[in-house]
């Protein structure tokens, strides 16, 4: 049996049902075996799209998304996707073809040292040296990707290792799984701190989604009478229509979330890495609070926020353990809970803005109103992403998928496609900007060809909006290299690809366009022509701290300290 057959069999043994990729000279032996393997293959337009699709698939299923590219440019095209998955802890298995072991180092056609290039953007990576290594390496790759803190794993596959005969033996998967302690750390101290807290807050990060511990977190919050704040990556971990759910915090987060964090005396941080986008100016971040930090990755404890009580382990297990050890003290904190709810209530500003030109907030408002309770929303990166993080309500079982770590423009559409493939019966919407959409919109043809009816909502302001906003606010309004004077007509583009679409210029057309997109049987684009001058606010620049917040329309701009003091009384 040749190596390629063993490779495909090993993928199946690991539970693979489909993969995303592009063939090329160095991986053709694998494609030859995929031909009659029964595995579904989605032929993408770019290898980067294949990785983002695998990433989107992984974020929805919690199981590895698999992608395959060829050597050289195929492999280098995959690096951004791997970096995206790495920063957001997504278990992607990335296979790349490679020139044969005899040719390596000769600068052969389509040769690149992809193994070394991928080291900084993967949790681990491997290079095959012989067909006999295939079962062990692949089994190890899946185990590494899905044990401990999840992450992408790359395997470089020289062509001769899959074209020649396998003479080795199968291996046992269990031997490679990363050991994760149940609970390691000062659990008794954490319990005592939470029991004695007057103003506890739960800060929920993206790891809570990977750990699938959202329900337990909500129960814990209810026990404690503690408001829940999420990071951008944590958005969707807990339902945002829950009374204790305050929404996102951070650079573009809700003022109510930031304020409740400022007032907290204990913050229980669940599976967050305290990124700079979450903390802002660290000296202003949770100044009054003791911090309990739960994370599966011990290296995160004390990295960005120091002097924490750290608990390492599976967050689901730790949250359950805390629940079993804590007393139900919500009644004793009714004043604090009421204050949080009053703050949240004040923060429900009316962003059903009926002005002309169309405002991005209006689009987000209608998406929140019209999307089903189990919809998946993926975003790209930029203003629309932060508008969505701030204004979109991830209520019920809605999922929010975004590139929060690497901040990869072009992620939204292929990630949505991966999500749709994972859950064909669920409505999947990609919220993107005209800049991000054009980075990977070739994959729209892939969506049409493979019957993946995603709905793409383009917040089109003819500009790289967030960069423009920064130039306005922080670079003396020197607008340069930021506006697209000519972009394609996205509806004609969609139609040319075999999809459908609608252009929206007035607020009165938004709801109808969204309904059309949600009911479309083919990939659909709603081109929302929005106001180029509408900035994504409020925003707290990271160097200013809370006193430097730029409010825009935000109601917190005009509120007095006296009024704030009376919240919940």
């Amino acid at each position: 049996m040749r190596g390629a057959k063993v490779l495909v069999n090993t993928l199946k043994e690991q539970g693979a049902k489909l993969l995303f990729g592009i063939p090329g000279g160095a991986n053709l032996a694998i494609y030859d075996e995929l031909h009659e393997s029964g595995l579904r293959h989605i032929l993408t337009r770019h290898e980067g799209g294949a990785v983002h699709m695998a990433d989107g698939f992984a974020r929805v299923t919690g199981t590895p998304g698999i992608c395959l590219g060829t050597s050289g440019p195929g492999a280098t095209n995959m690096i951004t996707g791997l970096g995206t998955a790495y920063l957001d802890s997504s278990p992607v298995i990335c296979m790349t073809g490679q020139v044969s072991t005899k040719m390596m180092g000769n600068d052969a056609f389509q040769e690149s040292d992809s193994f070394d290039m991928m080291i900084p953007v993967t949790k681990s990576n491997f290079k095959l040296r012989s067909p006999d290594d295939i079962p062990a390496v692949f089994t190890k790759a899946f185990a590494v990707a899905t044990s401990g803190r999840f992450g992408p794993v790359a395997i470089d596959i020289p062509s001769d290792t899959v074209s020649s005969e396998f003479t080795g033996e199968a291996c046992l998967p269990a031997q490679f799984a990363e050991h994760v302690p149940q609970v390691k750390g000062r659990i008794a101290d954490a319990v005592a701190m939470l029991n004695s807290a007057s103003r506890p807050v739960l800060l929920v990060g993206g790891g809570a989604k990977w750990a699938k511990c959202g329900e337990s977190v909500v129960e814990l919050a209810e026990m404690l009478g503690a408001p829940m704040v999420t990071t951008v990556m944590g958005k969707g971990a807990v339902p945002e229509d829950h009374p204790l759910s305050m929404g996102t915090t951070g650079m573009h987060g809700r003022r109510s979330s930031a304020r409740i964090m400022e007032e907290a005396d204990v913050v229980l941080a669940v599976a967050t890495r305290f990124s700079d986008r979450t903390t802002g100016k660290t000296s202003d971040f949770i100044p009054k609070a003791g911090v309990i930090h739960i994370d599966i990755d011990n290296a995160e404890l004390g990295k960005n926020v120091r002097n924490v009580i750290g608990l390492t382990g599976d967050c689901a297990v730790i949250v359950q353990t805390l629940k079993s050890m804590l007393r139900n003290s919500a009644g004793a904190r009714s004043g604090w809970t009421a204050r949080a709810i009053a703050m949240k209530s004040y923060c429900q500003c009316d962003f059903n803005i009926l002005e002309s030109p169309l405002k991005p907030q209006k689009v987000i408002h209608e998406l929140s109103r019209l999307l089903p309770d189990n919809a998946i929303l993926t975003t790209d990166v930029g203003q629309h992403q932060m508008f969505a993080a701030h204004f979109f309500e991830a209520s019920g079982k809605r999922k929010f998928i975004t590139s929060g770590g690497l901040g990869t423009m072009g992620f939204g559409l292929p990630a949505a496609m991966g999500a749709k493939v994972a859950e064909p019966g669920t409505k999947v919407v990609c919220l993107t900007g005209d800049g991000g959409f054009q980075m990977t919109f070739g994959e729209f043809a892939t969506a049409v060809e493979n019957n993946i009816p995603v709905f793409v909502v383009v917040i089109n302001n003819g500009s790289l909006g967030m960069v423009r906003q920064f130039q306005k606010q922080f670079y003396n309004n020197h607008l340069f290299a930021v506006d697209y004077s000519k972009s394609p007509d996205f509806v004609k583009f969609a139609e040319a690809m075999g999809g459908a679409g609608v252009t929206v210029e007035r607020e009165s057309e938004v709801a109808e366009a969204i309904r059309a997109g949600l009911s479309s049987s083919v990939p659909f684009v709603a081109d929302m022509r929005v106001d180029i001058n509408e900035d994504c606010l409020p925003m707290t620049p990271p160097w200013t701290g809370r006193n430097g917040t730029i409010y825009g329309r935000c109601k917190w701009r005009d509120i007095s300290d006296g009024e704030i003091a009376n919240f919940g009384k």
Partner: protein
């Protein structure tokens, strides 16, 4: 100067990944010694300060193939502390 002792498998990539963890954090490697201990690779990496060693210690332990990382302690006093300047607004914008 602070010395780290790193015992790792000789699986390809483990040593590269180990070195990259330093450059990723902008930590200068002052000295690097490589030897074998049984079937394993043994690295002694010297960095300037305790702060550098602390910063890289836990990430090194996470690497698949790294078996053990120890802070072997101070080799000699660093001549000067690292005076890392606070970030400018532009740097913070990313």
């Amino acid at each position: 100067m602070v010395k780290l002792r790193i015992l790792a498998s000789e699986e390809e990539g483990t040593l590269q990944r180990t070195i990259f963890e330093f450059s990723k954090r902008n930590i200068e490697i002052e000295r690097l010694l490589y030897s074998h201990e049984g079937d394993h690779a043994l690295l002694h990496i010297t960095v300037k300060s305790d702060a550098d060693a602390i910063k890289v210690l836990k990430p090194l332990r996470k690497i698949h193939g790294v078996i053990e990382v120890q802070n072997s302690g101070r080799e000699e006093e660093a001549e000067t502390g690292r005076n890392r300047m606070p970030m400018t607004p532009q740097e913070m914008l990313g």
